[in-house]
């Protein structure tokens, strides 16, 4: 085992003595610059973005739904996928060691990285050792997570993204906004402009003169640009979709074949992999190679599935390095109510069905992992205090859970993480927020039925607020957030419980003296409501 960093990281695969570390600050892309509501607000104002997202997610959603419906054992596949991943997570220490043994036995070198800093340093050192000043990259989420391209740039190594969408993102000095379709926020015209403007800089093959925004023309321009990169690069960097512990085999699943060029042409291949990407046996791939393409792109079978085991003399890279990354994963694993997020196979089906993601896009989440899975994964990798708004970036509508191929209960996990956010805030020792005050007061009010009944009677005063239109159109904060776009009905002149009590009392006694007097307290601005109306057939109360 090749060690990186001063302390042998193997110590925390045993019994940890302290809480496992979170992904460190100041490196990588797991934290946004502003809270989700503010970032979302700006994104919502971009009509072009919303149109692109609406079109793209609707298309993928439809495709996924139709290919999933073809399989009568889809639910069993999902259950199998979840069970395999849970087994991996429960015995991760064993599987990781087995993977290391197998990769090493087949000529690969395994490196262990506790966090983004260590992983970046390992890769930087490996690349420098080859003498190369450029690398080609296979589309990978984990290298975005740790900010590897930036770390390489800092030491003068250029990292060329070769996935078409990642290339668009890189040339546009942009950030990915979707896990599978990173440039989902761009349309053809924007892509053409980026190609024309950027391809010729940094020594690349420029876009051809008169480039149009026809998809074929754009693809051809990208192909010519990338071909030169493939042929000149001596080092490639990839992520991994799966690593088979039994055999030491790594797998990358992609659609263009550009990944395969990177995996086969250069002399040195460096793969960075989150340590949860393991499957125990070769046979387990059967489950995931069915679940992933159908969920991700709505395809029955994936176009380019590349697998490699160590190094093979005379065929492919001569040196293979595998960097196993923690970066908050052990911390996530430590939480029984949150660890299922590590089942994720990055298919993005939850993004495509999420009504929040569809409107805000991925950048609003701040992290490279957006959408529902990002809202549960990012705060766990960084610790909730660094991403406190993400668990609230959901209506808990549940569409993500239904779409997830490994049945991650994202809504329940969001609720769990919200409690962690609130508790962390309370534990921080500062003054209670306005929200905390409201919530505590509401709980106090609801703790006793008589208190609650009195509160509802007092709420009748709210009828004064809407006497002009018969509805309430303006309220002070925090309810101003409601009335900014929605009217609020007038509170009724009588709560249901008071109406019920009065009805029971009048049924049981001549004057209703058996219960409390439902008419105590102030009358609403409409004056007393006659018992005739309240006891009428539908008991209508003006709203």
């Amino acid at each position: 085992m090749t060690q990186a960093g001063p302390t042998p990281p193997a110590t925390f695969l045993g019994l940890p003595t302290a809480a496992p570390p979170s992904a460190p600050r100041g490196v990588g892309m797991l934290r946004g610059d502003e809270p989700f509501p503010a970032a979302a607000r700006r994104a919502l104002g971009d009509a072009q973005l919303r149109r692109n997202l609406g079109k793209a997610t609707t298309t993928i959603r439809g495709r996924r739904a139709s290919v999933v419906a073809e399989l009568d054992d889809w639910e069993r596949l999902r259950a199998a996928g979840a069970a395999i991943k849970d087994d991996v997570l429960a015995h991760l220490d064993d599987y990781l060691v087995r993977l290391e043994q197998q990769v090493t036995a087949r000529g690969g070198v395994v490196h262990w990285a506790r966090d983004a800093h260590e992983a970046n340093q390992i890769v930087v050192d490996l690349v420098r050792a080859t003498g190369a000043d450029e690398v080609v990259k296979v589309k990978s989420m984990v290298t975005q997570e740790i900010g590897l391209n930036e770390a390489l740039a800092d030491v003068g190594v250029a990292a060329w993204e070769t996935d078409l969408a990642e290339l668009i993102v890189q040339l546009g000095h942009d950030r990915p906004s979707h896990i599978v379709v990173p440039a989902i926020h761009r349309n053809r015209a924007e892509i053409r402009d980026i190609f024309v403007r950027e391809m010729g800089t940094t020594g690349g093959v420029p876009a051809p003169a008169g480039l149009t925004d026809e998809p074929r023309a754009l693809a051809e321009a990208a192909r010519r640009h990338l071909r030169q990169r493939f042929l000149s690069a001596r080092v490639a960097i990839s992520g991994a979709n799966f690593a088979v512990a039994e055999t030491g085999t790594l797998a990358v699943v992609e659609s263009e074949g550009n990944g395969r060029m990177c995996l086969t042409l250069p002399d040195t291949l460096i793969t960075v992999m989150g340590l949860e990407k393991i499957v125990p046996t070769w046979r387990d791939l059967e489950v995931f190679l069915q679940l992933l393409p159908r969920s991700a792109t709505g395809e029955r079978m994936n176009p380019y599935t590349s697998m490699w085991t160590g190094v093979t003399p005379g065929d492919g890279p001569r040196a293979f390095h595998l960097v196993l990354l923690d970066n908050g994963r052990t911390a996530t694993l430590a939480d029984p109510a949150g660890r299922a997020a590590l089942r994720c196979i990055r298919c993005a089906a939850c993004l495509n069905v999420c009504p929040v993601y569809e409107r805000t896009g991925g950048h609003a989440y701040g992290s490279v992992y957006p959408g529902p899975i990002g809202a549960v994964l990012s705060p766990q990798l960084t610790g909730v205090t660094d991403n406190p708004s993400l668990p609230y970036a959901s209506t808990l509508c549940g569409a993500c859970l239904d779409a997830c191929p490994v049945a991650i209960d994202i809504p329940s996990m969001l609720v769990h993480l919200r409690a962690k956010v609130v508790d962390a805030d309370r534990g921080a020792g500062h003054r209670p927020t306005a929200e905390q005050a409201v919530m505590t007061t509401a709980a106090w009010t609801m703790a006793k039925p008589r208190r609650w009944a009195r509160t509802l009677r007092a709420a009748r005063l709210g009828r004064l607020l809407g006497r002009r239109r018969g509805t309430i159109s303006r309220l002070p904060p925090p309810l101003a957030a409601w009335t900014a776009s929605r009217d609020l009905p007038l509170p009724p002149s009588e709560s249901f419980r008071d109406r019920w009590s009065r009805r029971q009392a009048s049924a049981g006694g001549p004057d209703g003296s058996g219960g409390h007097d439902p008419q105590d307290g102030p009358d609403g601005p409409d004056g007393p409501d006659g018992p005739d109306e309240l006891d009428g057939p539908d008991g209508r109360t003006p709203r």
């Binding site: 929040v356 609230y392 209506t395 009217d487 709203r543």
Partner: protein, 265 residues
Amino acid sequence: MRVGLFVTCLVDGMFPDVGEATVRVLERLGHEVDLPLAQTCCGQMHINTGYAREALPLVRRHVEAFEGYEAVVAPSASCVGSVRHQYATLATAAGDEELAAAAIALASRTFELSEFLVGVLGVTEVGAYYPHRVTYHPTCHSLRPLRVGDAPTRLLRAVAGLELVELPAAEVCCGFGGTFALKNADTSTAMLADKMSRVLSTGAEVVTAGDSSCLMHIGGGLSRLRAGARPVHLAEILASTVTSPTAVPPAAASTPVTTTARTVR
């Protein structure tokens, strides 16, 4: 059957007609309905906003309030969903296994109105009359966690005089989401705008659903736009009969009026 009405805090405080309608439907079908006055709020808002500590006493109160009822029925899928899918987890996390066991027992006899009528009682025809053009929004909690399926539309199709118009992209969330509507008001509004445009595209007079909360959101948006279409809870439609029809509620006045809401109507 002796049914405990789990009226929900929102219906209790804001929409008593929905509670009344639920009672009428159940009584019309020959069941005895009781309102345990010990109930206040199920605690869902607290749970879903992260205030598990504050929610726990509310959960305990709710479980105790409904002890002894053969069935507990609520005009809300999300509140039933909280009892069914959150209570036991919350109690267990707080180390109260006794409460968790009681919560699981309560969950097994707590039903949303449409699933109780169709799934438990096996009734789709409730003797209702509602001569209006109606579109149905399946709220997320009825659609997904509760899986009430087509129970609400089967009930609606059996209502005399009712013209049911299909809502396009009905399964998409309206954007309410409890405190999401306030904490992420802009995104909530963006989702609401799309839901409203689909409701309006149906030309329906009335949009109905099984949750007053989502209807308050959709209806609040429609009212702000003076769009005409009104929110009416499923229970109110099912309660409506030839002899005592539920009126379509009035729209908010389009220009300020000097008298009260009652006069407007």
